[in-house]
């Protein structure tokens, strides 16, 4: 490690080097994990594994659990209808109690989606290594942390040892310059990135998002971008910490305080990539050229500008790529060669670890205020956490959404994962602010168009896929 210190390093390399406990030859590094986030779906078998081996959780103080995936978003007064989900939540509670882990259970004032509450509670901090049995752990990279998803075996490894066996990934710079136009947001940037590189384009890499358009984003917008790194195949995506990062973290419940804050801040300021450091790959995007994005197919890489035509399989030469496009269009029942504009929409979902934070809800509310959700549309608004929900209610956003005809629900993953009661009916079309449009992801036979919160609201009020820029007025200050 010491030898590497003289050479200019990237943000990723600095965080990686800082956490290597040891590196045996021809073996993965033993990487120390600062924060382990846990939820009910990918942890049960890991806790069972610990019991079978007679092991404890090595650092319960660095382990935090919540309930989000199979957790219903119906009112707390309504009993959980699904016996399996109820049993899974009970098991999470039992495991947390038995192993001494802090748990924000259903009904807790801090409960919420794991990738919303980590930053919100100040648990997520620059320079940390953060893991969770969830691929959207990449979200936390917005703070300059190295954060990635792991499987249940690895959850068990971290619970028992606070370490993981990892090979050092390659780095890819994603440089976004220029300024976003009106109605174009962070979600559109990341959908454009994934459309450009494809869902496997980032495999083996950690992304670093950089450039003036990334600097201009708020912390919550940066989280939206890092969140979907995995949809481009990268396990992690990072943004160098800056004053916005430090302001966001300061004063939060688990943020360092007093002298510890000063010390942490001094370290965090050393993290940005050194001048002269190199990446293994780089892509460049001009933010000013972006339009609102929407997906038309069955993976997040199948995205287009809202005014662009859906690609035609007849123009694809690779046989498997052609087959994939044909299969996707058949599942979606979409015609190639024309834009999705005007396509009917049955459900609009505003939520998920991608877009359920207070700034997402504020932006959506500012556009929907005084309008009505179309009669043919069901709109669900699902705050990412109980804290987001309370804040939104304090600002009257819930009233705006309800008066528009939308449902205002409890915090959780909801319709992003369709394992908690919130799901599409077969054949329904949804515009969703979530992160995955895989076949059946939002319910068997359901069809998902991924888009930004603004594009989601535009679809809700018009009942069809709509270019949000046509709804912007002087009264709505967006970008």
């Amino acid at each position: 490690m010491a030898a590497a210190l003289n050479k200019p390093r990237t943000l990723f390399e600095k965080v990686w080097d800082q956490h290597v406990v040891l590196q045996e030859p021809e073996s993965p590094a033993v990487l120390y994990i600062d924060l382990h986030l846990v939820h009910e779906v990918t942890s049960p078998q890991a806790f069972t594994g610990l019991r079978q081996r007679g092991l404890k959780v090595r650092r319960p103080d660095r382990t935090v659990a919540t309930m989000d995936h199979s957790t219903p978003t119906t009112p707390l007064s309504v009993p959980i209808a699904d016996a399996l989900a109820a049993a899974q939540l009970d098991f999470m509670k039992k495991n947390a109690e038995e192993f001494g882990i802090r748990l924000y259970e259903r009904g807790s004032a801090q409960q919420g989606i794991v990738h919303v509450i980590g930053p919100e509670l100040g648990l997520t901090q620059p320079g940390m290594t953060i893991v969770c049995g969830d691929s959207h752990t990449s979200t936390h990279g917005a703070f300059g942390a190295l954060a990635f998803g792991i499987g249940t075996s690895e959850v068990e490894h971290v619970l028992a040892s606070q370490c993981l066996l990892q090979y050092k990934p390659k780095t890819m710079a994603i440089t976004v310059y220029g300024r976003l136009g009106p109605g174009v947001s962070a979600k559109d940037i990341i959908l454009a990135v994934i459309a450009k590189i494809g869902v496997g384009g980032g495999t083996g890499y950690v992304f670093e998002y950089r450039g003036e358009a990334i600097r201009a984003l708020s912390m919550e917008e940066r989280m939206t971008i890092c969140n979907m790194s995995i949809e481009g195949g990268a396990r992690a995506g990072m943004v160098a910490p800056d004053d916005k990062t430090f302001e966001y973290v300061a004063g939060r419940e688990y943020a360092p305080k007093g002298a510890a804050w000063d010390k942490a801040l001094a370290y965090w300021k050393t993290l940005p990539t050194d001048e002269g450091a190199t990446y293994d790959a780089e892509i460049v995007i001009d933010a000013s050229s972006l339009e609102p994005m929407i997906t038309y197919g069955t993976n997040p890489g199948m995205g287009i500008s809202i005014t662009s035509p859906v690609p035609d399989p007849a123009q694809v030469s690779d046989p498997l790529e052609k087959l994939a496009l044909e299969k996707a269009l058949a599942y979606m029942d979409i015609e190639p060669g024309k834009p999705l504009l005007g396509h009917k929409v049955d459900v609009v979902f505003l939520g998920s670890c991608t877009n359920s934070r207070i700034s997402d809800l504020r932006l959506a509310a500012s556009l929907i205020k005084g309008k009505r959700v179309a009669d043919s549309v069901r709109m669900l608004v699902v705050p990412g956490s109980q804290q987001v929900k309370r804040q939104a209610e304090a600002e009257g956003l819930d009233v705006i959404f309800r008066e528009a005809g939308a449902e205002w629900r409890e915090a959780g993953c909801s319709m992003c994962i369709a394992m908690n009661g919130d799901q599409l009916e077969p054949g329904q079309y949804a515009v969703s602010t979530s992160n995955r449009n895989f076949e059946g992801r939002q319910g068997k036979g359901g069809r998902t168009f991924l888009a930004s919160p603004l594009t989601a609201v535009a679809a809700a009020v018009s009942g069809t896929v709509t270019d949000v820029r046509t709804l912007l007025t002087e009264n709505i200050a967006i970008n």
């Binding site: 021809e26 033993v30 120390y32 600062d34 990918t42 699904d82 370490c163 890489g301 498997l320």
Partner: protein, 205 residues
């Protein structure tokens, strides 16, 4: 941990690119608290005519004749020949649990998603990466001889076709050794307790 040394078996072609873990096992089956019995719901929504709400409900469901898993030609296959970027999407280890419970011991593709690959290696499911040319050769082979048997030898990192043609596949030395010897990775990690403790002391974590 599950071991892998050699395997001679038939292969099933599932030639779709970017097969995500939601197709391998839909999220509604992730409410289980153990690892067992997920083979019944492998590729569930491509496999059955009905909507299967829970793992238990898959018993007696009607197979879709047009899905390769239900084709008698490939019954008993232990190798899956898949399209590019297999296993993308979520981190659910239920995906390799479902594949191995069904009977697959190896997947061949031109690439794998990182988390899926990691999860597979911990469950004795061997992800074999081949180049596009080899991939095409295997597709042609299974088209001409659907019951062709392939032989995988992990020690020599070789994949041998019925005609004797042999291809070397890449795998890192550590993963190879773990699979060959059935190394318990957590057990291995825990041997570094002293170093982990020292790291914590030095770093004040």
């Amino acid at each position: 941990m599950a071991q892998f040394t050699t395997l001679t078996a038939r292969a099933m072609p599932l030639l779709v690119n970017d097969i995500d873990t939601d197709q391998i096992i839909p999220a509604r089956f992730l409410k289980v608290t153990d690892k067992n019995g997920l083979g019944k719901v492998l590729f569930c929504d491509w496999r059955y005519q009905e909507t299967i709400p829970s793992v238990d409900a898959a018993e007696g469901a009607t197979p879709r004749a047009d899905f390769v898993l239900n084709t008698p030609t490939y019954a008993g296959a232990k190798i899956l020949l898949a399209g590019d970027n297999f296993g993308c999407g979520s981190s659910r280890e239920h995906a390799p649990w479902a594949l191995t419970a069904y009977g697959f011991q190896a997947v061949i593709s031109t690439s794998f998603a990182d988390i899926f690959r990691n999860n597979s290696l911990k469950n004795g499911l061997l992800p074999i990466v081949v180049d596009a040319e080899t991939h095409a050769t295997l597709i042609d082979l299974l088209e001409e001889v659907p019951d062709a048997e392939l032989t995988i030898d992990l020690e020599s990192q070789s994949l041998t076709l019925p005609g004797g043609q042999s291809i070397t596949f890449p795998i890192d030395a550590f993963a190879r050794n773990c699979l060959l010897r059935g190394v318990d990775q957590l057990g291995y990690l825990l041997t570094f307790e002293e170093q982990i403790k020292a790291y914590e002391e030095v770093q004040h974590v």
